[in-house]
Symmetry: C3
Subunit: 208 residues, 3 copies
């Protein structure tokens, strides 16, 4: 009986890993973008493709969840993990999309700062998610979650500083509207990474 369900269970881990890998692709793309002098249209297309693959992957996980009787951990945690991992990609796509819609031409120094912290946080998200396979080895998961929480605090302070600076230096209200939204989105990516860490911690505590 055990063997029959084991393969199903393992599929969830593979699918979460794929979601985390997509998030890493997205955060790498954001880093690439902030280094460009002029935002390349090809990057926008690549981001849309990542977002689309993320949607399909998430949809597949939830469909499987609804059809599977035995799951490696609580159904509600699997659902929450799949949707928050998808949100990580979605918010990054939103940032890139705004640059295009608002015809901003290129990222600025503040967004470049966020891009580095986001990439760092997403890397730890991937580590935490990978750790779910062997929940006995809690050390690496815990370290990743602590780091994700720390980076969320870094992001809060960064957003406060960057917004204060924007209102200080930018006299054009239209530009304030555009960049304010983008910086707030950038901080939201770190919030959503923290949501992922919270689900992972919940799963860990329940299995302890």
């Amino acid at each position: 009986m055990k063997f029959r369900f084991l393969p199903e269970e393992f599929n969830f881990f593979n699918l979460f890993d794929k979601q985390a890998e997509l998030a890493l692709e997205a955060s790498s793309l954001v880093r690439e973008l902030v280094q460009q002098e002029k935002v390349d249209a090809a990057i926008l297309t690549r981001m849309q493709e990542i977002e689309h693959r993320g949607d399909e992957l998430t949809h597949g996980i939830i469909e499987r969840l609804n059809k599977t009787f035995i799951t490696p951990f609580d159904r509600e945690d699997i659902h929450k993990l799949a949707t928050t991992l998808d949100d990580v990609v979605d918010v990054m796509n939103t940032i890139v999309n705004r640059l295009r819609i608002y015809k901003l031409g290129s990222a600025d120094k503040s967004l470049a700062e966020f891009a580095a912290v986001i990439d760092d946080s997403v890397r730890n998200v991937a580590t935490a998610v990978k750790g779910l396979r062997k929940l006995k080895d809690t050390k690496s998961i815990m370290d990743a979650c602590v780091e994700i929480n720390r980076l969320e605090n870094v992001g809060d302070a960064m957003r406060d500083r960057v917004l204060a600076d924007l209102f200080e230096r930018e006299a054009n209200p239209i530009c304030v509207i555009k960049w304010k939204e983008i910086y707030q989105d950038a901080e939201t990516v770190l919030d959503v990474c923290e949501d992922v860490a919270n689900v992972v911690e919940t799963i860990m505590v329940k299995q302890a």
Copy 2:
């Protein structure tokens, strides 16, 4: 024993249908509004009444849910369905309310475009919800859900185009602030319709 609970079960379907009908009343009102040269105060009052009836209906469903032991499908799905159907009406009420608070006088061409897509999506929401009574006939539910998803994508593209256009043509930042919020709300209605479709699909898959 079965007969005792059956009437209770059927009530949920009736109540969801009523919620969907309210959403249709609201989307028809928005269509009416965008055709007016000058927004009629009576429309604002009618929308508030719809929103109020929606609140009472939703509150009634959740109260009944908490008191009922046997439900036609998972409690969490009933809760989610009731609150997301209520959100559909709430966001439309927010749009109409903003026109009033921001003293915009009348809707514009972009909002009229959204109104047509929203009405279309809400119509499919009503079909999907009605389909829950006979889950074996999955075809009509699936078609409605696929259409709701398609219209959400149409809405995303519409919002991007409409916002790009707003920033292009509107030099007055105060007007940008007002309309930007309204267009984003309009797109949110389509997002919430998609949330309804997702709950309906979840229910279908679980019963399959």
Copy 3:
């Protein structure tokens, strides 16, 4: 067996009370702040401390929840109650933080109006939460929940009036951006208090 779990159960009530007390500390602080002619930096620091203690408290509740087998009411309701009580404090912290980041110097008359309603609502939240210990005495809980709902409606009307007034009197778009966000946050505190009331009512109905 009963005695073994009883102390655990009671801890939840104590912890919710502590969360409600923190929310009261925060709403008192906001009232203090709106009476100052010039926002005192010490108030900002005190609010950050409250917010930090709130985070730790909430984290502790959720950790305990995940480790406890028998709970005084449904786990999902405990989770929701803990996180919404935390949100009450978080949104107040956001308001105070924005005053600092946007270098607004002092609160205005509109924010002072909100501060009084928020404090009133949070007081009723504390009463409702305290009432959870003796669910048979539903009268005081119900009264508090009805009042929280009434104050949320008061807040909706207040936000509409205050925003209409802002767009009327304020010609500087940068100021519109800053204050609009703060008023909307202020109204959100009342929304979140209503979320708390909804969870409390859910718990009451289930135990009836």
